[in-house]
Symmetry: C2
Subunit: 346 residues, 2 copies
DNA sequence: GATCGGGTTTGGATCGATCCAGAAGGGGCC
DNA sequence: GGCCCCTTCTGGATCGATCCAAACCCGATC
């Protein structure tokens, strides 16, 4: 394979190839490949010579060629869930950040794709079969969750952020945050501050995540011998719903504190308090969930359960590495504990 | 090239190749390739036959092979800027969403990479030289902006979201939002509501973006013959700074309304109002910038300038397509006008 | 009937890396 | 010295698509 018609390798317009480096260093192509991927195989002086040539030419391996040969892309697919305006959900953003950062350390990049449209599986299939990505990270494992089932059937490698709710025979790796532990912390925190009538505003009963978070609240209250009756409300995840629910609860159940399944709902509570001239933290305590930007900047600061998304990302990437290294890898689940960020609202 | 040792093509574990499709359809490889990429070149019946074979085998072109041959990856690189906790910046999230969505329509995917660490150019170089991405979208073109300069020198294709501030001979395509027009709208809106003493809280003077937004405020006031003296404050982009600045302005300049360079600063104003028992919207009007989630969920709703990020993404992708289609493409700039979302705070 | 031209179709070469089997090189051991 | 072994290095084949130049087909033209 002669390169006679090619511009000299010093010319920056054409990227140098492995063959160029080999010629420069006076070794074969395979030796250069080894210098890059298995330096241990080379004798010290040869390695030094090859590395010098690599630096001189500014050689960087061509990904497409490598991907073709190794049948791997070193890309992780992540589907962007549809935007929800009017909610305070910043969790996704933080998670993506952590994931990108952690993946980089493991030699992977994150490929975003859009899953909007009627079919949530749209996109997964193409990316998988065109070998565009090595694996997926699946984030919204709410009830039913078609992606996980579908991916499992295709024997596609993936790790889920979120438990396989209601699917006990699911055998894929997943990482999740113990929501119940979070709301239990929040409730205990309020009990320690002297509150006894602590209300819950959560999501509709068909949300596994919502019921999990609710369980933490009721567990904490019952453990200390306090009642939960009449103190719970289950609504949609909107500010408006939180506002309505808190208004009703204030009128009918006389709570001195609220624990909410999301910062969005907690903001609804703050609306009600503002309308009634009540001061959050002083008159009524409020705790949210997610530690979103909203919780951080609102007056007087919203106490909120913070998910350890950095750790989630680390665990996800670790699972991913295991999964890709061992095709027969049996999925494991990992549950991480959130922390409570206390601010002015409690 | 015989495939005798291979499992039958019906076996789903091995992805069918173009050669398999060709054999099935009784045509050559090139014909299949044309059926996929240039259907016009085929006679009707041949095309139908090939397409049938493609469907039967479930053929999807292998990206790595295509990328290698065409020297293109159909990936767009986007660097994630470092997270800023405690600010209300949701703009990035919305933009990424729109970009992913728009790119998909143009046949591109978005590759995220992390730019944390001392060198902001870290990552760009590797991705570019390893032909991992075809182009970049550069987002933070604040002052100086080393990426743009560096990328231009490398003749790397990129489109910037943000003007090349203070660099008049920059000849790359960019898309930006007319911040001054946004704050001018906001100020005019307040003037129309009867306010005359309208204060400004913005960023430090070395921020081009901040000065641009400030210009809109002062222009609107001067056009209607109102004074700006003593009514402007320039601080860091934090809630705390906004709180301090608004407290000082209230004491010394007696404004009835605030226009802010960001929702973060506007939240600071809301803090001050809450502390003084003043009601936003009723006693003092407040306008923010970015229409973040915070603005949407806070009580009683924060009026805010909303950037048309969907349109920005569309324009960015369009520029990118031109750029990649015509290597000699001369960069153009495009300035889009934001809108004002009016809520309870004004 | 042979030639021409166009739209179609073909097979070989190629992109740049890695896999693989085998060939040098250099000691150690009998 | 000869043999064997282990480390180090080599060159051909390969991954799966596209580029390219040439061959094919078939009706229109002379």
């Amino acid at each position: 394979m002669e390169r006679t018609t090619r511009t000299p390798s010093r010319h920056p317009a054409v990227a140098p190839t492995l063959a160029d480096v080999a010629e420069r260093a006076g070794v074969s192509r395979q030796t250069v490949s080894n210098a890059v991927n298995n330096p241990d195989l080379l004798r010290g002086d040869t390695l030094a010579r090859v590395q010098a040539a690599i630096v001189e030419l500014g050689y960087v391996p061509n990904r497409a060629a490598r991907n073709l040969r190794t049948r791997a892309s070193h890309l992780i697919g992540l589907r962007m869930s549809p935007v929800q305006e009017g909610t305070a959900n910043a969790a996704m953003d933080r998670f993506v950040h952590s994931l990108v950062w952690t993946s980089r350390e493991a030699g992977y990049h994150v490929l975003l794709f859009s899953g909007e449209g009627p079919d949530p599986l749209e996109g997964y299939d193409d990316l998988l079969r065109s070998t565009a990505v090595d694996a997926f990270v699946v984030t919204d494992t709410y009830l039913g969750n078609p992606q996980a089932t579908w991916l499992r059937e295709r024997r596609a490698p993936f790790v889920a952020f979120g438990r396989p709710w209601g699917d006990d025979d699911a055998k894929h790796p997943w990482v999740d945050v113990d929501g119940a532990a979070g709301t239990e912390q929040a409730t205990t925190h309020l009990l320690d501050r002297g509150h006894t009538r602590i209300a819950w505003i959560g999501w509709r009963k068909d949300s596994f995540i919502g019921e999990d978070r609710r369980a933490g609240w009721s567990r904490a209250l019952r453990e200390r011998g306090h009642s939960t009756t009449g103190l719970a409300s289950r609504v949609e995840d909107t500010v408006w719903s939180g506002r309505e629910a808190s208004a009703v609860l204030l009128d009918e159940a006389n709570p001195s504190a609220f624990v909410c399944a999301s910062d969005t709902l907690a903001m609804g509570v703050l609306h009600t308090l503002a309308e009634r001239g009540l001061h959050p933290g002083r008159d009524i305590a409020v705790v949210g969930f997610d530690d979103s930007q909203v919780a951080q900047v609102v007056h007087p600061g919203l106490t909120s359960v913070r998910q350890p998304l950095e750790e989630v990302a680390i665990a996800v990437v670790r699972s991913l590495e295991d999964l890709l290294a061992t095709p027969s890898y049996v999925g494991e689940g990992l549950l991480l504990t959130p922390t409570l960020t206390v601010r002015g609202s409690s």
